[in-house]
Amino acid sequence: MKFGVVVFPGTWSDRDCGWVVDQVLGAELRYLWHKEADLRDCDCIILPGGFAYGDYLRTGAIARFAPVMEKVSEFAARGGLVWGICNGFQILCEAGLLPGALIRNSSLEFRCEWTNLVVERADLPFTSACEEREVLRIPISHGEGSYFADPATLSRLEQNGQVVFRYADVEGRVRPNANPNGSVHNIAGIVNSRGNVLGMMPHPERCAEQELGGTDGLKLFRSVMHHATKALAG
């Protein structure tokens, strides 16, 4: 099982993701520089957090033109697992691999704090080690993480069950005061209709070891590992 972690100029969570992949999970790790036009046989591509290309113009707006992104789009079209975290989610939206957009937090503040996420879909390659309605404690760290989609897109997402994570209270109740950034429907993460491209604002790679305050994030990495190992064996 090989994870590819894409590195753009301005990416800052690549080493955190890489650490979890090879030190905590024990999987194979490849860093993919944004100029590479080869995904080097990876089974899951992670687009990590940061400020790719300085987030100039809009978050993720320039990163989507990187040579590596063309390959990521092709990989996703073939059903490959693509996982965008924070800035990676913003890039996936700009690239049209996921619907909607991430806009400035309603508070106008950069929010860096723990959040509780209720898992709406536990049947995905990214969440199979979770229980449905389970509450995960995973931190956010962003200034532009307010998910927006027009009403038609939003109702399609809801009808298709494409909302994977919602900001909730500790009991898993989706409440306005548990929403850290003004996202519509408290959305913290969505998946494409095929279920192989996940975008999420919270950072699972920052809570994969007890020393960092929690291990809920590791469940998502384990899910992907389990799925890919099964697929490789099958």
């Binding site: 113009l57 707006a61 619907p99 806009i103 309603s106 508070s107 106008l108 927006f148």
Partner: protein, 86 residues
């Protein structure tokens, strides 16, 4: 030619910056202000054979990069030799 592109958040998109600026203006006594939207201004210098060509090219630039159609609207003027047209 110079294209002067203005990108604004769509009316249905929350604009917390605009709300904050409106509150600031209200604090300063500008009670007549009913709404503020904060957007972007982008100047693009380009070579084009005609104004029509420039317009088509700039429109394509807006659609493909300068604005995100999910959350933003755009409009632009093209200026040529000091003349301005919409």
């Amino acid at each position: 030619m110079i294209a002067r592109v203005i990108v604004t958040p769509k009316p249905v998109v929350n604009d917390p910056q605009g709300v904050t600026v409106r509150q600031g203006l209200a604090t300063l006594g500008f009670a007549e202000v009913t709404d503020v939207r904060v957007g972007k201004y982008i100047e693009v210098r380009l070579k084009a054979g005609s104004e029509r060509e420039a317009r088509e090219r700039v429109d394509a630039m807006c659609r493909q990069l300068l604005a995100n159609h999910v959350i933003e609207d755009y409009r632009f003027d093209i200026e040529r030799d000091g003349e301005k047209s919409r």
